[in-house]
Amino acid sequence: MAAVRLQALTKRFGEDVAAVRDLTLEIRHGELLSLLGPSGCGKTTTLRLIAGFLAPDAGEIWLGDRRLSSPRETLPPERRGMSMLFQSYAVWPHKTVGENVTYGLKFRTVPRADWPRRLREALALVRLEGFADRYPGELSGGQQQRVALARALVVEPTILLLDEPLSNLDAHLREEMRFEIRRLHEASQITTVYVTHDQAEAMVTSDRIAVMSAGRVEQVGTPTEVYERPATAFVAGFIGRTNLLKGRLGADGRVACEGGLELVTAAGPEHPPGAAVAVSIRPHTVALAPAAGVGTPAAPAADDAWRNIFTGTVTRAAYFGDAMDYQVAITGTDCTLRAAGAPESRLAVGQAVVVRIAPDRCILVR
């Protein structure tokens, strides 16, 4: 059940700068969908198109069976019944917290007698009880942001739009607010579009993530899907760290990689043999063991799950406290792989190691 449909949206700034190109996307009723991508990928433009601040150059936006935007006709933002949380919070400095929060109520059919209750509830929701008479200038950045959130939620919007809402907070508060936003979403069930460039933020808050690059959607999926089964090299590289190896697909899911490494992968039918592909391998799925330990019970050599077995040499080792980060040169090839190890693994630079990768952890991407 789609709440909002974006159909083949294109938005250009200037002659040939297309911020959004032919973008099609469905936002389901009651879900929190993130638009995730690097700066300049068109995610904020997409959000402002949904809000109605921008008119598309091509394509349409539908809310249920109602057309909101087309190149010829765009419903102004004030008539869309949406709410938006701005990166700068945009809390009005000349109005008290109470006036800020109740501002939107006067444009809706909410009887004035209900305002105090709605205000109280909204402030309670964001844990700002008793702040109604303060001015924003007297509040901290985090508090101002919660005022903005209360102001956005109090009108019970059809759609809630969040534009990088956490980017002005310090690291500690930011981490806390991720869970707060998820909590509020689960409590309110408002269909939400969340713009961010921070993948951890998107993973924590979202039901689904739309990864964007250069004005297009690369992949839409749950956090688990986009992380574990990235569709494109861009998605694999943008969400988490990964090893990306280019190559050509042979028979039985075998990929001959540039640099001479041959990998067994779990290629599906969507990849025809002979196609140029890239293989994404997450560092934590690359298992390392000292060379002397080959054949120890911990690593059943003949098991099908461990068919990619190589030898290599550790060329770099870094201690992260909760993990070790290694770089390993695979013997007989020009390939190096990054691998994450347990903090107590303590392999030394120059040490010979055995490298194992399960075929279903070698993900083929476009």
Partner: protein, 563 residues
């Protein structure tokens, strides 16, 4: 060079530097103010203290009228300036008004045009008998009575407002530009239409700037001497400034003038304090983010109406007056009428080379403006540097003293200076040096503000980066700060030089026949009815001013007097 040695030397010099700066500022700012206050409560020509000066000043019926006149005048000018300036600022910063650049440029021209020249031009245009517009009106309609009589309170308010509205324009425009677009977008998405956003968000956020602009326009009119002297006195009424000037006529009543000036001083201090508080109000700054300006409001067919409105204001402020002055400056004789035979450059030769009072005044004015600007820029540059880098304890005291003259009206300051320097040990009265002291004091705040603003763009890290690489403080200052700060110093110099060229309200009490300046000569020639010479001097003054502004904008970057 051992860095410790220079550091030691600087520390040792610090108290001396502070004392020297403080002494200079005390002489310039504290002394005339103290003498003014003492004068107001002294027995004239005698010893002891008294309140009779205040009784004389405010208990006498004929001196009470000007107080009321000044209030009406300043209030009306403030209101009219807002009515003209605020909508124009909105049109230029927020809409698709055609010809924005022209509106901005001509508003700057109005900003730097002294209102006494505007008044002169409007006497030429709208004098009841010979004013060009009135002559034209009578010729067309056959009426007896003039269309306008510029010699009236209405005329005075009208002319003054044409040259004070740019203050409101500048402040309002800056506030509108600085309002983050997000604040308006947030209201849109909350359900407010364009008009509701304007009423509930845009206007309230710009209100402090608009009120601040009103206060500055009010104050400017309150302490103005030139335009009231030219338009009110012929209409047989005084405002407070012209009344103070009248107190200096023989026999001079300096003590009564000092007492009479007190309300001006108090109102100026009070209003500037209020203006500062208003503009610096807490909470009107917001967190960063998309501060980009909102897309311009489409006016549709109204854009031509708006364009016509702005055009009319600027035609009245610049077009007609400049035309009138040019015509006067190029006329062989005033009565000869319109023909090419009546066009000559002789008036310019006359005022520059032949007529002694004007020639001397031009030389004096250029000399005064140059010396004042140079000293003000150097002195304030040093104090701003020391204050900003916190090199000295007590630097903020110096900064405060440097900014204090902002609240001292020129004509009030010159009463104190007259009293201080018209007798030994420092007999400056009768020389141009007393006028120099007045100018320097009056323009300290402008110079300080310009230097302070320029220094804020030179981050202290830039200098520290040079010091880390081995340059001592002086070398780092010379190699890094001076080149970057230089533009700021030149701006400060120009911002003092330009108003010094046209200063009238301090000079009018301090000049003698041996020490005249251009503005004073324009006023005395105006009183004698020498229109051709007045117009020629006026055109020279405006020409030099506009030329310098244009050159500065070209070479100092767009930030100089940019609005």
């Amino acid at each position: 060079m051992p860095a410790g040695a220079t550091g030691q030397g600087r520390r040792d010099a610090a108290p001396a530097v502070w004392l020297l700066s403080a002494a200079i500022l005390a002489v310039l700012v504290v002394a005339p103010l103290a003498i003014l206050l003492v004068t107001a409560v002294r027995v004239p020509e005698g010893h002891g203290f008294t309140f009779t000066n205040f009784v004389e000043a405010f208990g006498t019926a004929i001196y009470q009228g000007p107080v009321g006149n000044s209030l009406v005048y300043a209030t009306a000018v403030g209101i009219l300036s807002v009515i003209l300036g605020a909508p124009m600022a909105w049109l230029v910063t927020r809409t698709d008004l055609p010809g924005k650049a022209v509106v901005r440029t001509l508003t700057i021209a109005a900003f730097v045009t002294p209102s006494f020249l505007g008044a002169t031009a409007y006497v030429i245009l709208a004098g009841p008998n010979a004013g060009l517009l009135n002559v034209l009106y009578r010729a067309v309609t056959g009426a007896e009575a003039p269309l306008f009589n510029i010699f009236s309170m209405t005329g005075l308010i009208y002319v003054t407002s044409l040259y004070t509205f740019p203050v409101v324009f500048i402040l309002t425009g800056a506030a509108l530009t600085a309002t983050p677009a997000d604040l308006e977008d947030a209201a849109r998405i909350a359900g407010a239409g364009r008009l509701a956003v304007m009423r509930t968000i845009t206007l309230p956020l710009a209100l402090p700037a608009i009120v601040g602009g009103f206060i500055l326009a009010f104050l400017e009119a309150l302490v103005l001497f030139g335009a009231p002297a030219m338009l009110a006195i012929p209409a047989r009424f005084h405002v407070m400034t012209t009344q103070i000037w009248a107190f200096f006529h023989y026999p001079p009543q300096v003590e009564v003038a000092a007492a009479y000036a007190m309300p001006l001083l108090l109102v100026a201090v009070g209003l500037l304090w209020a203006q500062r508080r208003l503009m610096g109000r807490r909470g009107y700054t917001t967190v960063g983010g998309r501060a980009a300006a909102a897309p311009p409001v489409r006016l549709g067919p109204w854009r031509w109406v708006a364009c016509g409105g702005c055009g009319t204001v600027l035609l009245l402020a610049i077009g007609l007056p400049y035309f009138a002055l040019l015509r006067g400056a190029l006329a062989k004789a005033w009565g000869l009428g319109w023909s090419w035979q009546n066009v000559t450059l002789r008036n310019f030769r006359y005022v520059i080379f032949e007529f002694d009072p004007t020639r001397a005044a031009i030389v004096n004015t250029l000399e005064l403006a140059t010396v004042t600007a140079t000293l003000a820029a150097l002195l304030m540059g040093a104090i701003a540097y020391v204050a900003q880098r916190r090199l000295l304890a007590g630097a903020r005291v110096l900064a405060f003293l440097a900014m204090a003259p902002l609240a001292i009206p020129g004509i009030v300051l010159s009463i104190g200076l007259f009293k201080a320097y018209s007798r030994p040990p420092l007999l400056l009265y009768g020389t141009i040096w007393i006028i120099f002291v007045a100018y320097l004091t009056k323009y300290l705040p402008i110079a300080y503000t310009a230097c302070h603003a320029a220094l804020q763009t030179v981050h202290v890290d830039l200098e520290d980066a040079a010091r880390v690489l081995g340059a001592n403080r002086l070398v780092a200052f010379k190699d890094v700060t001076v080149p970057l700060f230089g533009v700021g110093l030149v701006s400060a110099w120009l911002l003092v030089f330009l108003p010094s060229l046209r200063e009238l309200s301090s000079s009018i009490l301090l000049f003698t026949t041996r020490s005249r300046v251009v503005a004073v000569v324009i006023y005395t020639l105006y009183e004698e009815g020498l229109w051709e010479a007045v117009s020629a001097l006026g055109i020279l003054l405006l020409g030099l001013t506009l030329l310098l502004v244009a050159v500065a904008q070209r070479f100092l970057g767009r930030r100089f007097l940019q609005i």
